[in-house]
Symmetry: C2
Amino acid sequence: MNDIISICNSVLSRIKPTEAEKSRLATLAESIILRINAIAEQESISASAQLVGSSARGTWISGEHDLDIFIMFQPDVERKELEEKGLYIARKIAGESQSFEERYAEHPYIHAIFDGFEVDLVPAFKVERASEIKSAVDRTPFHNIYVSSMIKGLEDEVLVLKQFLKGIGVYGSELKTQGFSGYLVELLVINYGSFVKVLENACEWKSGISIDIEKHGTLVHKDPMIVVDPTDPARNVAAVLSLNNMCVFMDMACEFLKNPDEAYFSVKTVKPLDDKSFNDILKARGTSLLAIEFATPDVVEDVLFPQLYKVRESIHEMFERYDFHVYNKSVWAQKTAVVLFELESSKLPHVKRHTGPQVWAKEHAQAFKSKYTGSDTFSNVFIRDGRFMVEIPRKYDRAKKLVESEILNCALGKHIASSIKKEFHVLEDEEILNIKDNEFRKYLRNFFEK
Amino acid sequence: MNDIISICNSVLSRIKPTEAEKSRLATLAESIILRINAIAEQESISASAQLVGSSARGTWISGEHDLDIFIMFQPDVERKELEEKGLYIARKIAGESQSFEERYAEHPYIHAIFDGFEVDLVPAFKVERASEIKSAVDRTPFHNIYVSSMIKGLEDEVLVLKQFLKGIGVYGSELKTQGFSGYLVELLVINYGSFVKVLENACEWKSGISIDIEKHGTLVHKDPMIVVDPTDPARNVAAVLSLNNMCVFMDMACEFLKNPDEAYFSVKTVKPLDDKSFNDILKARGTSLLAIEFATPDVVEDVLFPQLYKVRESIHEMFERYDFHVYNKSVWAQKTAVVLFELESSKLPHVKRHTGPQVWAKEHAQAFKSKYTGSDTFSNVFIRDGRFMVEIPRKYDRAKKLVESEILNCALGKHIASSIKKEFHVLEDEEILNIKDNEFRKYLRNFFEK
């Protein structure tokens, strides 16, 4: 236990913002809020600014220079009006920043850089209760109120847990990561009381674990982990968390408690995979690798990754439908996007058994027999297990050809479909080495080594 | 319909025994029966002979020179005494034949050749009712009584149906064939009234069809076809009939009624497959063929084939357990026996994903992680779908090696196990051409063409 305390203290000394850093952030936040309120008054817009998120709760990690500033409108305002006037104010204040861009989640917001801080300026409705929200972001101010009232004295525990989750690679509720959100971390600490107690409990979790701090949950969720939102009884704060990431945390929690080590709090560095190692690994494994490469569509990651996962599943289903056996699958995206499959083999026999109707299904049976009798088959029509069958030439006996010919019949998602329609490449085995990108080569090493 | 009548007449003219042939058979049967009864009297054995089977019912096909002669004992005789005294008489009369041998079914009997006729001399109990039989053969005399009383005038219908079933390859209730027994054919004709009516009905059958002429069935059977024995309400006469053979008959019945043709009544001749055709076929199919060859054990086919089928299933299960994908399987036996498999591929990747316990299954999880951490694996231990996994070297990546190493761990049946323990060969692809036997080559053609 002493080990753990000294490790946590050492970690904290690295990640806890200094008083100077806190004061820089507070000063910047205050000045932006004042400017927003001033602009609103000038323009006779009934809106006011508010700092939310970890920076408002004292649970942000040093160097994480993110500010979430909400521009709050009354709930009776039309959605269109909120978007127009909210963006009007946001653009105006962002005009004073180093740089900014418009982004789109459920509705548009502005992402700007002030003084090296990343500031999100988000129009939202100021509803009475979290259950009455008109847009997902409207919940955030309620989270702010709840956490602020409960977290006093536990901020350091939150910081250490966040850093632990970052170190083991499961922090962040983006749809790419599907890990633990900052709010979820705060609720776990509030529920269990400390970093170590969260770990002790996590080590005993099972899939389906349910935490309901306010004991007011109203819905049954099927997610691997259910943490009922203290501000909204119908919502699962852990809805985005994948079973994999939950399990990784459980496993690492147990391991850390057994053998505490500061290394858990640092992201592992990965060496890019060189050509020779790639060829050696592939030869030793004896599998076939297939990469589908295309230009990454210009959308935010929360739009891109669900589409990439959908493409991965959809191509996987197509492989199985055409009798190719999938061992592993994965996606990667930077400038180009890659959907990667490891197959038992990229070749199948040319012959394929085609199963027809039951012998007693008169009309179907007759149609089947007429179709295949005397046509270009490997066998006569025969009977097996009460059904007519025939052995026919397989349409695709090479995985590469299958993907090249049929990918547009897969469910691809809007943006990826339009990118693939323009151009895509299917790379097989050593052809994959044409992708020289260092980040891709790191990803490849992880793909093999796990 | 005129077509069918003239076809049936033409078939009958080929297969119906002539008066001269009938009289030769009757004379031989009578003389053997008289000799048996005389021997029994001489030796003070209380037993009497009886002609049973198709030769007793006038439902035998010309040239089929089989006589079933039962030596009937009272049911209070001990089994041992029946076997000893029955065989004593049988051996004595067989001593006057051209040649004979002892065979074993449920109990021993003598198979002898008299005058070119194959005569089975079978000791049996003369029980009161078929439901009281002490051995399976005791039923036969009851079948004889029942059929004889019902079949008058329908004998030709039986002959034609038998020949049809022979022509399409599904006649015979041996465990090798799993087709229609002679008794089953007689009951179908009795039930439906004629050859054509049997075919018309068979064309409408479904799996699970049930026929109970005496409406006295007492058991629920799960067989594809149930024909309750008119002499034993608990027995399914069609128990041996396989779903495949039933379906082949249904299909051929429909086809024949649509396009009557005398060709249905002749066994198709098959050309042996030559080396070049074999290689061409294998190359075109793109599959791998594996033959396990061993000396055929010296047992009757009804003992041999169930063991061969068991070996086929047991090796099939082993292939699947080791991730090899089986396309087709089959057995063949003459002097040597062959279990033949067509595989999607005889090679697998060297890497294999090994699935471990659920992450929350504490002790198992710990053992799994200890076992595979730092050992000779392709990957680290990782988590997928809530379970620990690891990628390890596959024990057998060649199907041939798997069979050579593990066949003795398969369920082989007593006689085949002892033959394989002495010697066996696994032949792959063109190595199979080392089996030059013409019958095997015909079988190979059927294996591919169906």
